[in-house]
């Protein structure tokens, strides 16, 4: 078997550091996911409003998020707020803001899609039964929407977890940065370490994202 340099992982606290880095990445992404889901539902509702102003605004918001690379957003929030307002946001706070800003828009679009997939006659039937607008959403529309959302949002959530690799650019030491540090610190003693360490990082990302897919599959079956 070729030397993958896996031994560098067992030097000192390297393995613990790598897990700590994964912890940072997961903390940022899961916090953002929760915020994105809450805000995303609001954004999604706004997107389906008939009001042309709110529609136009939501459209702009979504397009900006789609067009702007997450990297640019990270720099804008981390350095831009200091430059203009003098706020000293930490790297992790900035990351959560950016990821939530991004997630809310994409989640909103998914919610919008799920909402308009509910046939018009269900609204009409609800009205015929004497349910108010709020009740219609609470008892008829949202439960079905959530079910339809699950597979779509899992895709977004795993993407958010993987995109946390960008936050190393604003000084947050997450799993990818730790792995680069380990590789570089050992570049004289084990020059082949890069392959082994990146392979480990791949496995870590996989085991972080896999349970989410499993959960999604489970929920889909359960709620069918």
């Amino acid at each position: 078997m070729p030397d993958l340099g896996l031994n560098v992982l067992f030097k000192g606290k390297n393995l613990a550091r790598l897990m700590g880095g994964l912890g940072v990445a997961l903390k940022i992404s899961l916090l953002s996911v929760v915020i994105s889901i809450v805000l995303g539902i609001v954004v999604g509702l706004l997107m389906t409003w008939k009001n042309p102003i709110s529609r136009a605004l939501m459209r702009c918001y979504l397009e900006i998020v789609r067009i702007m690379p997450q990297m640019v957003l990270l720099f804008l929030v981390y350095f831009g707020t200091t430059r203009i307002f003098g706020w000293n946001l930490s790297g992790e706070t900035s990351s959560v803001i950016v990821f939530s800003f991004w997630g809310a828009a994409e989640m909103g679009d998914l919610v919008r899609g799920a909402l308009i997939s509910i046939p018009q006659h269900q609204y009409e039937s609800a009205a015929a039964l004497g349910l108010s607008g709020g009740q219609t959403y609470r008892y008829i529309v949202l439960p079905q929407t959530v079910r339809r959302l699950i597979p779509l949002s899992m895709n977004l959530i795993t993407r958010m977890i993987k995109t946390t690799s960008l936050v190393l650019m604003i000084g947050v030491v997450e799993v990818l940065k730790v792995s680069q540090q380990i590789i570089e610190a050992n570049r004289m003693s084990s020059p082949n370490a890069a392959f082994g360490v990146y392979l480990t990082v791949f496995a870590l990302y996989f085991f972080a994202c896999w349970p989410i897919s499993l959960l999604a599959g489970f929920l889909e079956k359960r709620w069918r």
């Binding site: 609001v42 000084g171 680069q180 540090q181 570089e184």
Partner: protein, 314 residues
């Protein structure tokens, strides 16, 4: 009502992002108008111009960086270093920062009597960190260039860098004129070596590679007669790979590596300069080299790489 408020919140987010985008670009151009590093007022003016669209422009210059007194009062100094550039700044297996730059940073913290908060920086965001005052000092193998000096203030240098050329022992290239017509030289795309050779020696055919690993393989396979790169890189390569010699250890203009502080941070700049000068008495940077760099570069290059007391006598 509730929905309106949410709408308003989203509108605000929008406005924020747009204004950030607008100010970011204007800030960059305003900062580059000051070329004279000695004029503190000018730097202050630039600081104000950067924040001009914001309300508190008068206090902005104070917000951008922390003076020496403020750092000492807070008890912690933020120093931006590389965390993955062995042997200059890296993190060892116990999670401790190590390296040539870090050794100096630790001394700074000790002599200032403050704790050090190391911030992991990337090559691409070092200037930004100083311009926003998110770190007090950058000690990340920061090469002094005119372009950068317009945006940050460099202290006295503590290391030399130049280009170097490594070639196999069977045919050591000691001068660029030895490179014949059919010969090719390896460079890594985007490095100073590539720029220097294509500007000054356009007659030499270059073989360009994107990564260090590919360039290394190419030289080992004998695809070219020599490899030009930063001299620290080629020296380290020749030491680790027997059969190769650095025929030209220093080519082109001598550049230096120096600590940098936010533009206009006179008190901190002066303190660092005084520190570097006084450390010369104990040959601090030679000691630093022997602690951190000697395994990579060997003792032969100690005097040509180290700058003591900020004096580049070469």
């Amino acid at each position: 009502m509730k929905k309106n408020r949410k709408l308003f919140a989203i509108l605000l987010t929008f406005a924020l992002v747009l204004s950030l985008a607008a100010c970011g670009s204007s800030g960059g151009s305003a900062a580059s108008t000051t070329t004279d590093s000695s004029a503190a007022e000018k730097a202050d003016a630039a600081g104000n111009a950067t924040g001009a669209p914001a309300e508190e422009s008068s206090q902005d210059s104070a917000a951008v960086f922390r003076t020496l007194e403020e750092i000492q009062a807070s008890g912690t100094i933020n120093i931006g270093v590389f965390s993955d550039k062995n042997p200059f700044g890296y993190v060892d297996e116990n999670g401790e920062y190590q390296g040539y730059d870090v050794y100096f940073a630790n001394r700074i913290g000790e002599d200032l009597g403050v704790k050090i908060n190391f911030v992991s920086t990337e090559a691409a965001n070092r200037v930004e960190y100083l311009e926003t005052g998110k770190v007090d000092i950058i000690l990340a193998n920061f090469t002094v260039t005119e372009e950068r000096a317009e945006k940050v203030d460099f202290a006295l240098p503590y290391m030399n860098v130049a280009l170097g050329v490594v070639s196999p022992d069977s045919r050591v290239i000691k001068d660029l004129s030895e490179i014949g017509e059919g010969d090719q030289v390896i460079v890594i795309s985007g490095t100073t070596a590539e720029t220097y050779l294509s500007e000054n020696n356009p007659e030499i055919t270059l073989q360009k590679y994107d990564t260090y690993a590919n360039a290394k393989n190419a030289l080992e396979n004998g695809n070219a007669v020599a490899w030009a790169n930063d001299n620290t890189e080629v020296i380290a390569f020749a030491l680790q790979n027997p059969g190769y010699t650095v025929g030209i250890p220093s080519l082109g203009s001598q550049d230096t590596i120096a600590p940098a502080v936010s533009k206009g941070n006179e008190t901190l700049l002066k303190w660092i300069n005084d520190e570097i000068v006084s450390l010369a008495d104990e040959n601090f940077f030679h000691k630093d080299y022997e602690e951190t760099l000697i395994d990579t570069y060997g003792a032969d290059y100690e005097d040509s790489l180290v700058v003591e007391g900020g004096v580049t006598a070469q």
